[in-house]
């Protein structure tokens, strides 16, 4: 288990079965701590002692990493650098700027029922980042009644996992899915002629830009099937074939297998930010289509590694320039979930 330290210290180490539970708990405890305001003690959350001891996040300057509001990015022309195939060049490391997947509609509000006592009140809702649900205006997913009840059941069950299904699949190493992947650690975007590829901390997405048809309906996938194209500064991706097993957050929001997601990744021309704006259409679960907005910022070689947003070490080479070194992010079969089932497992 000593290898865990180097995994998060240098971003490279073995990641064997059984070890991931520590890493996930560790990652979360860092996050939970970093999410607190400066000057506040790190919350131990439920990380095992060895991992908790390593969780010394840099909260001196949370800055943009935990911003409470964010600017819109206007869809329009792309005036930045282009790749030889004509795509806007948006390659590199990115992470969201408001919070992790603890709570979908109150990104800095923590997961309801979290047994860890916070030393400081969260304050009023207005003092925290807005809901990721940007439409409707009330910031809530427009669930049908049965679906709202199901979501509430998941949310309540998360900290009292009396059923296997209350354990988030991500804790078992499943891909985080859409849109949770964008709230789970930093990630990398690589571009190639005909493709945009997302390398997440848990899972990988290949977006096809060649205009071919979606996979047949009976193929269901954790990350769905993604077809995209560029409109100026905006990458537009339509996602279908979702297996509906991932949850959007620890608060249990979900879609069904019928969901169609239209993602718009709107990049600023300075190349420092983009907003992820995704419209979810699923008549079996929602009363109307709704839109999620997740703000992102870029990280570059030499930025401080914070163990969550940016875990990319510098490459070993003879030159003087800083080169980011992307190492493998494996996730193997793992049955040591973060949320242990209490009582008799079903």
């Amino acid at each position: 288990m000593s290898s865990i330290t180097s995994q998060h210290g240098a971003g490279r180490s073995r990641l064997a079965a059984g070890a991931l539970v520590l890493i996930q708990a560790f990652g979360m405890s860092q996050f939970a701590s970093a999410q607190e305001a400066p000057g506040q003690a790190a919350a131990p959350v439920s990380a095992p002692p060895a991992a908790a001891a390593q969780a010394t996040p840099n909260i001196a300057n949370p800055g943009i990493r935990w911003e409470k509001s964010f600017p819109p990015v206007t869809a329009g022309k792309w005036t930045g650098h282009r790749l030889p195939d004509g795509q806007p060049d948006i390659q590199g490391d990115w992470s969201n700027s408001i919070g992790n997947h603890d709570n979908f509609t109150d990104p800095q509000g923590g997961t309801p029922g979290d047994p860890v006592r916070r030393k400081r009140p969260l304050g009023t809702r207005a003092e925290r980042a807005p809901s990721r649900v940007s439409d409707p205006a009330d910031g809530q997913v427009p669930f049908q009644d049965w679906a709202r009840a199901k979501q509430q059941e998941f949310a309540t069950g998360f900290w009292n996992a009396t059923k296997q299904e209350y354990i988030e699949p991500l804790a078992r190493c499943a891909p985080a899915g859409i849109p949770k992947s964008f709230m789970w650690h930093g990630y990398e975007i690589r571009q190639f002629p005909g493709y945009v590829v997302f390398l997440f901390n848990s899972g990988t997405r290949i977006v096809h830009l060649d205009g071919k048809a979606h996979l047949p309906d009976n193929i269901k996938l954790w990350n769905g099937d993604s077809r995209g194209h560029w409109e100026g500064n905006t990458l537009v991706v339509e996602v279908t074939n979702n297996n509906a097993k991932a949850r959007f957050a620890r608060t249990g929001e979900f879609a069904s297998e019928n969901v169609r997601v239209e993602e718009r990744y709107i990049f600023d021309n300075a190349g420092k930010r983009f907003n992820y704006v995704a419209t979810f259409t699923d008549p079996t679960v929602y009363t109307r289509p709704w839109t999620a907005t997740i703000p992102m910022r870029r990280y570059v070689a030499g930025d401080a590694q914070d163990g969550w947003h940016y875990e990319v070490p510098l490459a070993n080479h003879k030159g003087k320039e800083l080169v980011a070194d992307h190492v493998e992010r494996p996730c193997v079969e793992n049955n040591g979930p973060f949320g242990q089932v209490v009582g008799a497992a079903q």
């Binding site: 490279r12 190639f192 590829v197 297996n243 490459a315 070993n316 193997v332």
Partner: protein, 250 residues
């Protein structure tokens, strides 16, 4: 006369050009471009060494130069134990990342995405990702342990030479229980045989397990079917998929 000669020359050039075009390997940025979806047709993953048919494997001539993997005596005993327990112990059965070089000759497609600074190799099996760095960087100074190793490549003419180190020891080399330690060192040589075939060679050394370095060679074929694509295969989720039924109205 002059025009006839010119015409002949033109025709000769044209024919030669056509012949060359048929064999021409794709290039990107002045280097061979391995972008595409590739897969072996060999039985290498069943057993790297020559073997006759078994209940759980088709026969194969093997892909090991000289036919025999040169195990050290104690390592050979371990290999035999692995072989006997292969129906339970093969890491592939748990859908663990296959490792290097096994992912290359495993009978499921993988896709190469190529840039000047690296090649991104996405394996359908487990949807794992291997980066082969071609940006002049070296192995990390601090030894790491990776499922797929740490890959640093460079070009020697039209051959991509990749040095792979920093392995963990939980992957096997095939279904027959061939294995390695964390000291494994793999040197790969990737080159086009023609535009749709890669000749993949690798030298494997591991002083804890083998008495000398040994070589493998396998051909990889390009998938050219219309609309062929990788389909994410996160097979390690299959054992717990049942806990996540699609939410539905009662």
């Amino acid at each position: 006369m002059k025009s006839l000669r010119t015409s002949l020359l033109l025709w000769t050039a044209l024919l030669a050009g056509t012949a060359v075009a048929a064999d021409r390997i794709p290039h990107f940025d002045g280097k061979p471009d391995f972008s595409g979806i590739w897969q072996t047709t060999s039985a290498a993953d069943f057993d790297l060494q020559p073997h006759s048919t078994r209940k759980d494997a088709p026969p194969g001539v093997g892909i090991v130069a000289g036919n025999v993997i040169p195990y050290l005596p104690t390592a050979l005993e371990q290999k035999k134990k692995n072989f006997a327990a292969r129906a339970q112990e093969d890491p592939r059965l748990k859908c663990w990342t296959l490792g290097t070089p096994r992912g290359i000759y495993y009978p499921e497609p993988f896709q190469i995405f190529q840039r000047g600074e690296d090649l991104t190799v996405v394996f359908e099996f487990g949807h794992s990702v291997r980066t082969i760095h071609t940006n002049g960087t070296e192995h990390p100074t601090e030894k790491g342990e990776f499922w797929l190793g740490d890959s640093r490549g460079h070009w020697e003419g039209d051959t991509l030479v990749v040095d792979v180190t920093d392995f963990e020891d939980e992957t096997w080399l095939d279904r027959a229980g061939d294995f390695h330690s964390t000291d494994m060192h793999v040197i790969e040589r990737w080159k086009f045989l023609d535009a749709n075939t890669i000749d993949y060679q690798a030298t494997i050394e591991d002083p804890q397990v083998f008495s000398r370095p040994w070589d493998i060679e396998v051909f990889l074929y390009r998938h050219r079917e219309k609309d062929f694509q990788l389909i994410e295969n996160y097979c390690f989720t299959l054992d717990y998929d049942k806990y996540y039924p699609v939410p539905a109205a009662q």
